[in-house]
Symmetry: none
Subunit: 249 residues, 2 copies
DNA sequence: CCCTCTCGGTGTTCTAGAACACCGTCGAGC
DNA sequence: GCTCGACGGTGTTCTAGAACACCGAGAGGG
């Protein structure tokens, strides 16, 4: 009747519902293989429409937390096993090991509202505030990479005081808040440098560069920090060593 | 008013719509970066409700074919494919699993003298001859990567006969010569596409791209093949999952 | 000149209801 | 005893409309 859109300023209703169900699954109230209540029943009990509830289920299915089967029901999916075998080396940027002189210059640190990609990655609703930390990494006083980190406001409040020009962010997180990063997901693409990035890095606009976007998660699986890094292509390379096991048949 | 569900026995309406839009993108009626019509307008022109149209867009967004931006519009995404760097070599296999149509076009195969970098990597003296194999990888008939492989003449003599448009090089090496690649070293950098690469890949000259250079070694540790691959940055991303073990050691 | 605020356009979330489509089961008929 | 068809339960697709939320641009104030 009212088509209210959103009454309160928080997360969309279907996100909230998804979170609630996620919690039930994580806590074991809903065990793998168990069948959820009927969609209609769930909708009623959450006080929303069937369509809205289905949006929530959509999210969960995309995360492989549930599986819906036409005519049968909705089931908690078996936890997918992460068979990540190879321990990937770190970026070859571990230059400090090579005796290079690496420094960090803090460019900016302020609160702001993130763009959609960042907000999504951090699981924040639109309008949430984050702490943005912009840093320039220099090798032998030559700009090497431009890094923007985004932290949820609650975490950012505590981090603001740390001396991020000297202390690695991960270390600050651990010491100040006891947060340990246990997992991260990283995406690297090849892009052209924009005006601002080029200026900070001292490159011509449009120079080829790596852009890395990384989400780090704490031990509980909650997103902690989003990093966006630009590295000019002429100053950096990714190297890796591959080992092909057992050449199976 | 009818809430028809499905009148005909075919695909759901929103799937049909998604297909129609997919076709427009593939055929170039909608070019990357272009803005689609308003959701409301599209809904009207397809004769469906906003909600139904949005379901179609949902599909396309999940496929990374479009990107929707609140307050701005819906845009055709630059073709881009997530890929796990760990499995770079199993290129075709993974994509076809996603339902993409992957083909290889053999551009050239001839003997020539390699440049210094290649010769060094293969442990050859100056003036040695190598077999050069240039291949274009296409995903859904759209150029995806340009790959040049260099093999020492002795190996190349046997490989010339293989149908490299259909047979993976590694497979040909194993079947024809019993050579099994056991290890490889790869370097990835961000570069600007040169004239020739851009032409083959159908990109503007100077477009940002990944360049991967890889040396593969056989079980005895002898270099077997050198690969140089160009992948436009708007069609490819490296993704990886990192796991930080509990500060072991 | 710069900052702010409003405004129109665009995507987003939600409602209330209806008609399907798919699945397993159970009973009638052979 | 076995097969097939109806049935109830469950997920799926769709409608028509409404109220938001977000963004960029342009107008107005400092």
């Amino acid at each position: 009747m009212n088509g209210n859109g959103r009454v309160n300023g928080r997360l969309p209703r279907y996100h909230q519902i998804a979170q609630a169900l996620r919690a039930r699954i994580r806590e074991g109230t809903l065990r793998p293989g168990a069948r959820l209540e009927t969609q209609r029943r769930l909708a009623t009990s959450f006080g929303v429409t069937l369509m809205t509830l289905r949006q929530a289920l959509e999210l969960l299915e995309r995360e492989h937390l549930i599986s819906r089967r036409h005519g049968l029901g909705t089931f908690v999916a078996a936890p997918s096993i992460d068979y990540d075998i190879l321990q990937l080396r770190r970026f070859a940027g571990d230059l400090s090991a090579k005796g290079e002189h690496v420094t960090t210059r803090l460019l900016a640190m302020r609160f702001s509202t993130p763009d959609r990609l960042v907000a999504d990655a951090l699981g924040l609703g639109p309008g949430a505030r984050v702490l943005v930390v912009a840093r320039l990494r220099l090798v032998d006083d030559h700009p090497m990479s431009l890094q923007c980190s985004f932290l949820p406001a609650l975490i950012g409040d505590e981090i603001v005081r740390a001396d991020l020009a000297r202390t690695p962010l991960h270390q600050a997180l651990e010491r100040t808040l006891g947060i340990v990063v246990g997992r991260a997901h990283e995406t690297v693409s090849a892009v052209r440098l924009g005006r601002r990035e080029a200026r900070e890095l001292g490159c011509p606009v449009g120079a080829p560069a790596f852009e890395s976007e990384r989400v780090s998660f704490d031990a509980a699986g909650a997103p902690v920090v989003f990093d966006r890094v630009f590295i000019p292509g002429d100053r950096f390379r990714i190297t890796r060593e591959l080992h092909y096991e057992g050449a199976a048949s």
